[in-house]
Symmetry: C2
DNA sequence: GTCTGCATGTAACTGGTTACATGATTAT
DNA sequence: ATAATCATGTAACCAGTTACATGCAGAC
């Protein structure tokens, strides 16, 4: 149950409305924990009831009003508790791996095309992460605090995506049957 | 919706009961698509109704009887269709990344311990995959067919787990504050 | 007598996705 | 005109987890 906590982390960095959180989950923190606006609104409501966040109604001109959420004292306690709590290491769950495993029961050419598609998608993601790292953290050695933490998470994304690209390439080579 | 297809792949390799499938999902194919027995029984029932598999009641001595499932013609068609169908590339969803991102709002020492725990778990998983690769595929260059496909999937696991280990180590170094 | 393995299931719940719904403002 | 952005939600559904339930055989 980490969406609550991902929202707490995001709101602790900066308060915001459900809509603004949705934008953030389309980028940054959402690269590592995706969520749709429906889910975010539902969970925000639950968190409000639990007292982890509080909201202020903010009227706007030319735009619809919004409800701005911020982390309460209880929310900060909960966030600290959760960060220290041991969790399960990520488990791989990869549809493509299942397809490769079943390659003998399908069309090899189609599967190769699929692997190439995944390789390209991961390469694009990797390029994006590298661009973000270069732009936002040009001097990694000098980082500390939240900027360092954000950089480290981005490094994890770069590591994961470059691993996928390498693996897809290896699979393609092996399936080419040259 | 890939559990159906993971089961089809597994049953296409060898027929088996729900219980036997559960054992397989504790190893091999389950390393890349985990499932519990409850889920497997439920999905097998649905697949039977859909005509993708057929079952035979097999009486046993000294053990409870079992229902052995095998892939039907319709199931083989469905499996081939699914393998050729484009799917979504895996998305990273990592609780640990969220915790690191929120490090400023928690206890750093506890977080370091948590990262070290994850590093150890991934290192263990990596060692297991390497052991399996050495044992089952001692001559990777000579592989073809299903054995090659199984090896390639295992290579993906090795790549992913070694990526995690490297990343955790990098994070620990950066958070040591030396 | 207690635990492990074999074997199959039901029921309740949680988390996440997809579709539907509304309505104003601004840019093309 | 039409699409995109801002803003918030409901409802139905699907997938997956946890807990509960049964019962025999064989090993320690």
């Amino acid at each position: 149950m980490a969406l609550e906590h991902a929202i707490l982390v995001s709101l602790a960095e900066r308060e915001g409305s459900g809509y603004e959180l949705t934008r953030r989950f389309d980028r940054s923190i959402g690269f590592f924990w995706r969520a749709t606006h429906q889910q975010i609104y539902r969970v925000l409501k639950r968190m409000d009831e639990a007292g982890w966040v509080s909201s202020v109604h903010v009227p706007q001109e030319g735009k619809p009003d919004k409800k701005v959420y911020s982390v309460s004292a209880a929310g900060r306690v909960e966030l600290e508790r959760w960060i220290a709590e041991p969790g399960e290491p990520v488990e791989v769950r990869d549809e493509l791996a299942v397809k490769i495993r079943g390659a003998a029961h399908g069309d090899l050419a189609a599967l190769r095309a699929e692997v190439a598609r995944h390789r390209d998608a991961h390469a694009e993601r990797l390029a994006l992460y590298r661009r973000l790292a270069d732009k936002d953290f040009p001097e990694p050695g000098a980082l500390s605090g939240t900027a360092l933490h954000q950089y480290l998470v981005l490094r994890g994304g770069i590591s994961a995506e470059s691993g996928f690209v390498t693996w897809c390439t290896e699979v393609l080579d092996a399936l080419e049957g040259r």
